[in-house]
Amino acid sequence: MAESNVQTLTVAPAVRSLFGRTTMIGKLLRIKLAVFGIAVIGIVTVSGILAPVIAPYSPEALVTYRSEPPSAAHWLGTDELGRDQLSRLLYGARASLAVSTLAMLFGVSFGSALGLISAYAGGTTDTLIMRWVDAIRSVPGIVLPLMLVMIIGGSIYTVALALGFNLMTSIARLMRGQAMAMKQRDHILAANSLGATGLRVMLLHIAPNCWSPIIVAASLGMSAAITAEAGLSFLGVGVKPPTATWGQMLSTGLAAIRSAPWQVAMPGVSIFLLVLAFNFLGDALRDVLDPRMRSTINK
């Protein structure tokens, strides 16, 4: 008895500090749509990770050798090559999340690095970096990824790289803006006057205070990456088959939209829900992290 009391005593504050009303997660959990978003993302992530365990078939195995409607053996039917749709959907969760997560990580890490350097160095370096960033940013969305993937070939990594490239530019702008504002703050000025080196100031004093909008942008960037991947697949330059991604399943299923609508419906609904989830999460994060920013969802 005593033991369990001790446990409650020690665990409770930890839980409270994570999920309490004033913490970020706590606040998020009080936004219904955020909970929905987190739940969807969670389910997709878990099913992606567990795909090898829970998928009834190999995603690449041609089980029925032709398109078959949903049945007891194939809950979601099979695609035009006779591959089990459910298995492909589960593995596709993995690929689609990998593409969007890698794109996000690439975009955020390089983007923030560029933004920080630009903001901190100022002068010519700043101008040069930002001119490049603006130049790349000025090209409408899908065109550069299309060009890059077309030239370097389509795989999870190249598609992620190409999509991350776009995200990188907007993150760089955002980070620079944040860091510039931060630079003028007292504690940074103080650190500078105390002789802290550039890198130190940048990493220890500026960066940690700039994350809020970046996290929001990252979440929205992931949703954009998911739709962009579908677009690239439609144009024929997505992740190379036979790797299943949702975008690819959707765009190849389109050919059979009349005769085998299940081939369109399942990846379509999955993409829809996941994009929605990231949007909800992004919006909620914005509300929680930066109350001064506009909320776009119902609180």
Binding site: A135, I136, S138, V139, L144, G231, F272, S295
Partner: protein, 317 residues
């Protein structure tokens, strides 16, 4: 206002295009791929070496990368945009015939999304937390989360194949026949505009909500002004400021969307040309197309900024 525009053009747009031109030029040439393949196809493997030299020389591809760029940029500035590798048509001509098409498609989509999104967003904000608001939100979210090619296909199946009231594909210019133009453009414009409309609705709604909570609106209400007057004269004007910026930024998304929508609906515009040029490794065409798309995007943003300055009484030029 004019100095503002000029400064933006000279200080931002021009260097931006300069940097972009280098970027695209270098990327296209440094990454693997034989430009002659675009011209000759797989026969490149059997092309006699002497012929290869002749072709490389004709196309100026035997020079150093730097000289190639200087040549190309120089020609570009003097109005010679070069020739398509694939069709050997002048690039200006190849692109010129596509510009009006994409311009009509994307500007219509833009107008449609802005003109519908703002009233819907305002309406939704005023009816906050009602079923109407919820419905608007649901539709807006569907617009954001549905890939536009799927939406386009569904439109074709419903309106062209099942109902037979709209043509499945193609393009008629407004200059030729406005009525037909509307029929042909209805579905592509809708498919293209949905995403933009959805995010603008959400943007407008939240901007309105925020403004409605401001003190001066409460003051206006308490002064006994008609609610309609308050909404239009006070709230909307301020709420529109951020919406204008977002609407400018959405032009990029629309241009990007034409790549897919023009393919789907067989519309002979720039988006489809871009896809073809990229697939055909027609670098001569790609590098100019990318620049033109960027110019369109940048100018739209500039226009939005100008409008912003106009609307915002705090900024003077």
């Amino acid at each position: 206002m004019l100095p503002f525009i000029l400064r933006r053009l000279l200080v931002e747009t021009v260097p931006l295009l300069f940097f972009l031109s280098i970027f695209v030029f270098v990327v296209l040439r440094v990454l693997p791929g034989d430009p002659l393949r675009a011209i000759i196809g797989d026969e490149i493997t059997t092309l006699p070496a002497a012929d290869r030299l002749v072709l490389m020389h004709d196309l100026g591809l035997d020079k150093s990368l730097f000289l190639q760029y200087v040549d190309w940029a120089g020609n570009l500035l003097t109005g010679d945009w070069g020739r398509s590798f694939v069709s050997s048509k002048p690039v200006s001509e190849a692109i010129g015939e596509r510009v009006p098409v994409t311009l009509q498609l994307s500007s219509l989509a833009w107008i449609l999304s802005v003109s519908l999104a703002i009233p819907i967003g305002v309406f939704s904000a005023l009816r906050r937390n009602t079923w109407a608001d919820a419905a608007v939100n649901v539709f807006a979210l569907m617009g954001v989360a549905t890939p536009n090619f799927l939406f386009g296909m569904l439109l074709i199946l419903v309106f062209a194949v099942s109902l037979g009231i709209l043509p499945t594909n193609g393009f008629v210019s407004f200059a030729e026949d406005p009525v037909q133009a509307v029929r042909y453009l209805a579905m592509p414009v809708l498919a293209l505009a949905t995403g933009t409309m959805a995010s603008l609705v959400r943007q407008t709604r939240s901007a309105m909500l925020e403004v409605m909570n401001e003190d001066y609106i409460r003051t206006a209400h308490s002064k006994g002004l008609a609610p309609r007057h308050v909404v239009i004269r006070h709230a909307l004007k301020n709420a529109l400021l951020p919406v204008v910026t977002v609407a400018g930024l959405q032009v990029g998304n629309l241009l990007s969307g034409t790549v897919i929508i023009e393919t789907m609906f067989s519309i002979p515009g720039m988006g489809r040309l871009t896809v073809n040029a990229i697939y055909g490794q027609d670098y001569a065409l790609v590098q100019i197309l990318v620049l033109i798309l960027a110019v369109a995007h940048v100018l739209a943003n500039l226009a939005a900024d100008v409008l912003y300055v106009r609307l915002d009484p705090r900024i003077h030029y």
